[in-house]
Each structure stands twice: as structure tokens, then as C-alpha cells.
């Protein structure tokens, strides 16, 4: 290997790392607020990519049907709860939040379809279209068991992934698609090294979005409320933060990130209805490096995963995933060693 190859691999690694970074942030966001390892994350990204592909061919994205189906299920679940509590007076609000709100992006997507609008319209519509998916499936399947153990939640979340990828097959069919590049052309780095604009866009989005994330969590009261819910649920309720509402917000934020990822990777790889799973799994490796709690460590972990994957695929394409998931072993060893040390220290303080 010479320096040119190493540079190519590094840039490629950083580009895939950026995707894992965004996915990792989404996973940590959802886990820290709700204790759910959100396995269907990657499926939502795939749905965004496939929706964009549908817009490009001028067909109505089947995602609309999916979102509307989920929204009606969520409305039924909410109404059932209201009936049992005899609070039917709140019905208009429920219909607004769980019925009308998810229908808005569907309406926008339907309107965009087949019109000769600039490409950006389809991109925005695809991202917005998948935003309701995570909050809706969480409302239907995860909220009723919100107080269950992490393991039960994980199993439910895994089941949701299989459900979603099955629905993906039903709605999108088995064919893969690839979209036009979001930005064409390439630029040259100092030193005469060419980089495609798409790769730069991926890295830039990761940087900008992690910056926004930081501002949201460090500077706004609502961001702090999300963190507070993650740190202490009872404390959050006592100051009037509703965990169900923050959970919906976290799922919405995660869904938005998934949508962005879908749109970013759609021009680079061919996406099938089940392509999302492996992206989610690798982002999960990054999230574990961050202990499912720390955003900065998750970001670093994601870049590391991207680089390992990129270099590993140069040496052996067949074994690249083995390398990526193999990095989990030293990470987990180190984490458990550190964790037991911290616990010991805390015990000493207690004494």
C-alpha cells in the first residue's frame, strides 16, 4: 500500500464513517431517552432512499401507504386508550397529533410526485416522509411496554425491524435502486488528490449536523429536557417534563437523521428494502463505543468503524464486516474493565 491508496481509503472511510456517525447519534438519542435500542433505524433510512428513487422515476412513493397505515393504527391505539380512560373530550387533539400531523408529509409527497420540480423538492419530501415512521411505530408497539426491561424492549425493537423490512418488501418490492448524485462532479484537494463532491457532502453533513446536535443539547431548554429525561425520569416528571412527549421527540429526531442518511447514501450504493439493517448494526457498534450515552465518543467510534471498514475492505473484501464487528471485542473488554473500576470508586465514596 502506498500513500495514495491510504489517502483514498481514508477519505472513503471518513465518508462511510460520517453515515455511521449520523446513525450513531440517532441511536444514542433514542436509547438515552427511551432505553430502546432502536433496531429499525436502518430500515427507515432505506425507506427514505427508496422514496427518493421513486420520486426520480416519477412514481408515487409507496412510503405514503406505509405512513398512513401506521398513522391509522396509532390513532386506533390512542382512541382505545381514551375510551378506557373515558376522556373522549381529548379526541380532536389525538386526531390532530397522530392522524393529521403524519398525513402532512404524505400530502406533500403526493403533491411533489410527477411534477417537474427541482431535485431538492424530492429530497426534502423523502426525508420528511419518513420522519413520522419512528414515532408512529414507537407509539403503537413500544409505548405500551415503556417500563419493561431493556432486554424486552430490545426484543420488541428487533421484532419491529423484521416487521418493517417485511413491510418494505411488500411496499417497495425486491428490486434495488440507486438515485442520481445529489451533487455532481469532483474537486481536487491540495496535493492533486481528487475527491467526489458527494463524499464531501456526506462529511460536511455529518459535521454540520453534529454541530446542530451540540447546540440543541447544550443551549436549548428542550434539549436539556431530553437529556434530563435520560438522566433521571422521576426528576424530569417532577419538573413537568412529560417522558412520553420527549420520547416522541427523540423518535422524531432519530427518524429525521435516518431520512438524511437514506438520502445521502442512495446515490452511492444500491439500496434494497432490507439494506438498512447492516447500516444500523454498524452504527450500533459506534454507539457501543460511546457506551450508548456519550455523543462525542459515539462520533469518534463511528469514524473509527468507517476507517476500519474501508481499510479492511482493501485487504479482504469478504472479511471487512468481520473486522468491523471484531473491533467490538476489545471495546467491550475495555468498557467492562473501566465500568468495574468506576463502580468500585463509587462504592468507596458511599462508604
Amino acid at each position: 500500500m502506498n500513500w495514495d491508496v491510504a489517502l483514498i481509503l481514508t477519505v472513503g472511510g471518513l465518508a462511510t464513517g460520517s453515515v455511521y456517525l449520523l446513525a450513531g447519534l440517532g441511536l444514542v438519542l433514542i436509547f438515552s431517552v427511551t432505553r430502546v435500542v432502536f433496531v429499525p433505524f436502518g430500515d427507515i433510512a432505506a425507506f427514505a432512499a427508496l422514496s427518493l428513487a421513486a420520486f426520480e422515476t416519477g412514481t408515487t412513493p409507496p412510503t405514503i401507504g406505509l405512513v398512513l397505515t401506521l398513522a391509522s393504527l396509532a390513532v386506533v391505539a390512542e382512541l382505545w386508550q381514551l375510551m378506557r380512560r373515558r376522556e373522549l373530550a381529548r379526541m380532536p387533539r389525538v386526531l390532530m397529533v397522530w392522524g393529521l400531523l403524519p398525513a402532512l408529509p404524505c400530502l406533500a409527497a403526493w403533491w411533489v410526485t410527477g411534477r417537474n420540480l427541482p431535485a431538492i423538492a424530492g429530497i426534502v419530501a423523502s426525508i420528511l416522509l419518513v420522519v413520522p415512521i419512528a414515532p408512529l411505530i414507537a407509539r403503537i408497539a413500544l409505548r405500551p411496554i415503556a417500563d419493561a426491561s431493556v432486554l424486552v424492549l430490545l426484543i420488541a425493537s428487533l421484532a419491529l425491524h423484521f416487521l418493517l423490512s417485511g413491510l418494505g418488501l411488500l411496499f417497495f418490492g425486491p428490486e434495488g435502486s440507486r438515485t442520481h448524485p445529489l451533487v455532481a462532479g469532483a474537486t481536487t484537494l491540495p496535493g492533486g488528490f481528487p475527491v467526489s463532491m458527494q463524499v464531501l457532502l456526506m462529511i460536511a453533513s455529518a459535521i454540520v449536523l453534529s454541530g446542530l446536535f451540540y447546540l440543541l443539547f447544550e443551549r436549548t431548554l428542550h434539549g436539556k429536557a431530553l437529556r434530563a429525561t435520560a438522566i433521571n425520569r422521576v426528576g424530569a416528571r417532577l419538573v413537568g417534563i412529560r417522558p412520553a412527549r420527549t420520547a416522541a421527540l427523540a423518535y422524531g429526531g432519530g427518524s429525521l437523521l435516518a431520512g438524511l442518511i437514506g438520502v445521502l447514501i442512495a446515490p452511492v450504493t444500491t439500496i434494497y428494502y432490507d439494506s438498512g439493517f447492516i447500516i444500523g448494526l454498524k452504527a450500533f457498534v459506534a454507539a457501543i463505543i460511546g457506551g450508548l450515552a456519550s455523543y462525542p465518543l459515539t462520533a469518534l467510534g463511528a469514524l473509527a468503524v468507517g476507517l476500519v471498514e474501508s481499510f479492511a475492505s482493501f485487504w479482504s473484501g469478504a472479511l471487512k464486516d468481520v473486522f468491523v464487528f471484531g473491533t467490538l471485542i476489545p471495546v467491550l473488554l475495555l468498557r467492562s474493565l473501566l465500568a468495574s473500576r468506576i463502580e468500585e470508586e463509587e462504592e468507596e465514596i458511599d462508604e
Binding site: 431548554l221 434530563a228 438522566i231 422521576v234 426528576g235 416528571r237 419538573v239 413537568g240
Partner: protein, 243 residues
């Protein structure tokens, strides 16, 4: 008699089959400090948790004449109830200032009102102002109690419920905290104080209830309760017989 701010009538709370609070009635007038004393496991904490809505209960619960049943914890916070629990329930990984700001979350304050409230809490607890950018979990026990109280005050509560504010604290800090609690009354805050330390509780309240095995065993003006032979013997440790 003026209309009660908080009216609890025949309240029952159970954990599974075990009844922790069995038919407690209690009322609190605006501007009053009412203390609830009693031994460990008498149901004091349970009583507060049920009033706040953290535990389901049966019986009447009225706040300013409004029925609280059917309102969740967050809705009660919006109405002006505020609980400082025994475990304080702070946000350990957030800074002192973030903890305080979140205390006013339910009130949706604008920037300048938030700033003014922060200043008034810092004026009450100068120690918190010194530590404003420190993480809450790095504070000492007394400072954490001050932060819990400060966070509660940020919501400008009508009724402040304090669960064992003296727990694990040095007597001097307890005095400091209770002195502040007494000044709150001048700002129109009513206080429901739950304490195992009966002397501290009765010295700092207008009216007292003695809770035993989930029932009200005695109630009356705090000064009279403090003079009661049975209370003295059991809770103040200065009684005639020594068991």
C-alpha cells in the same frame, strides 16, 4: 375558616396488597406550614408521592378546590404543586444552572423572567451561584438539598412538599435550609413538610400531623403537639419514661 389550599380526604394508597396509607385526611390553608411526623414506614413519603400523582390513590384530593384525580404528575406541576423528594432526583450529569432552569420547564418562561428567577434563587442560596457551572452530582449533600429546593422554587410553586429535607445533613445546614423555608411563606408559598426529625419539624411549622401505620394518630397546632406527653416520649426523646 378560609378555603383550604390542599384538601386530602380519606386517602388510601397501597403497594399491591399492602396498604401504606389507610384513610388519611389532612388540610392545609394558604400560607401555612404543615408538618407530618412519624416513624419510619408510617406512610409519610407515600402520602406525598400520592399527592403528587406518582402513586395511584383513592379518596379525595383537592387543590384550590380542583379535583386532582385524573391529572398526571406533569399537570399537577403546572397547577403549582411541587415535590422535593427524599432522594432529591436531581439531574446529576447536568450543571447546577441547567438543573435550576429545568425547574421552570413547566412554566415556559421567556429569557428575562428565567434570568430573574435564577437570580432570586442564587440570592437565597449563594453557594449555588458559586457552583453554577459544576455538575450536580459533584455537590455535597447539603448543596444537593439546596439545589433540589432551588429547582423547586424555580417553578414558583403554590404548594411546596418537602420530603425529609434534613436527611443526612449536618444540623447547621438543616437550620439554614429551614430558615429559608420559613421565609418562603412570606412570598405566599404554602409548605407541607414531612420529617422524621420531629423536633425540627414541629419547631418550623404551624400545624402538625402524627402519622402511624398509615393513619393519623394525632393532629393539632405544632406548639401544642410539641407539648404533648406522648409525642414527647415517642418522637422528641425527652419523655418521662425511657424505653
Amino acid at each position: 375558616m378560609t378555603a383550604a389550599l390542599l384538601e386530602i380526604g380519606d386517602l388510601h394508597v397501597s403497594y399491591g396488597r399492602v396498604e401504606a396509607v389507610c384513610g388519611v385526611s389532612l388540610s392545609l390553608a394558604p400560607g401555612q406550614i404543615v408538618s407530618v411526623i412519624g416513624p419510619n414506614g408510617a406512610g409519610k413519603t407515600t402520602l406525598l408521592a400520592a399527592t403528587m400523582g406518582l402513586l395511584p390513590s383513592t379518596g379525595t384530593l383537592r387543590f384550590e378546590g380542583e379535583d386532582l384525580r385524573g391529572l398526571d404528575v406533569e399537570a399537577r406541576v403546572e397547577r403549582g404543586l411541587c415535590l422535593v423528594p427524599e432522594k432529591r432526583e436531581l439531574f446529576g450529569d447536568l450543571s447546577v444552572q441547567d438543573n435550576l432552569q429545568l425547574g421552570a420547564y413547566a412554566k415556559r418562561l421567556n429569557g428575562s423572567t428565567m434570568g430573574r428567577r435564577l437570580q432570586s434563587v442564587y440570592a437565597l442560596f449563594p453557594r449555588l451561584a458559586e457552583r453554577r457551572s459544576q455538575l450536580a452530582r459533584t455537590l455535597s449533600g447539603g448543596e444537593q438539598q439546596m439545589l433540589a429546593l432551588g429547582r423547586a422554587l424555580m417553578s414558583a410553586p403554590r404548594l411546596l412538599m418537602l420530603d425529609e429535607p434534613s436527611l443526612g445533613l449536618a444540623p447547621l445546614i438543616v437550620c439554614e435550609i429551614l430558615a429559608i423555608v420559613r421565609t418562603l411563606r412570606e412570598d405566599g408559598v404554602s409548605i407541607l413538610l414531612v420529617e422524621q426529625n420531629a423536633r425540627v419539624a414541629l419547631e418550623n411549622s404551624d400545624h402538625g400531623y402524627v402519622l402511624e401505620s398509615g393513619e393519623v394518630a394525632l393532629s393539632g397546632a405544632s406548639s401544642i403537639l410539641a407539648g404533648d406527653a406522648r409525642v414527647q416520649a415517642t418522637y422528641l426523646g425527652g419523655g418521662t419514661d425511657d424505653d
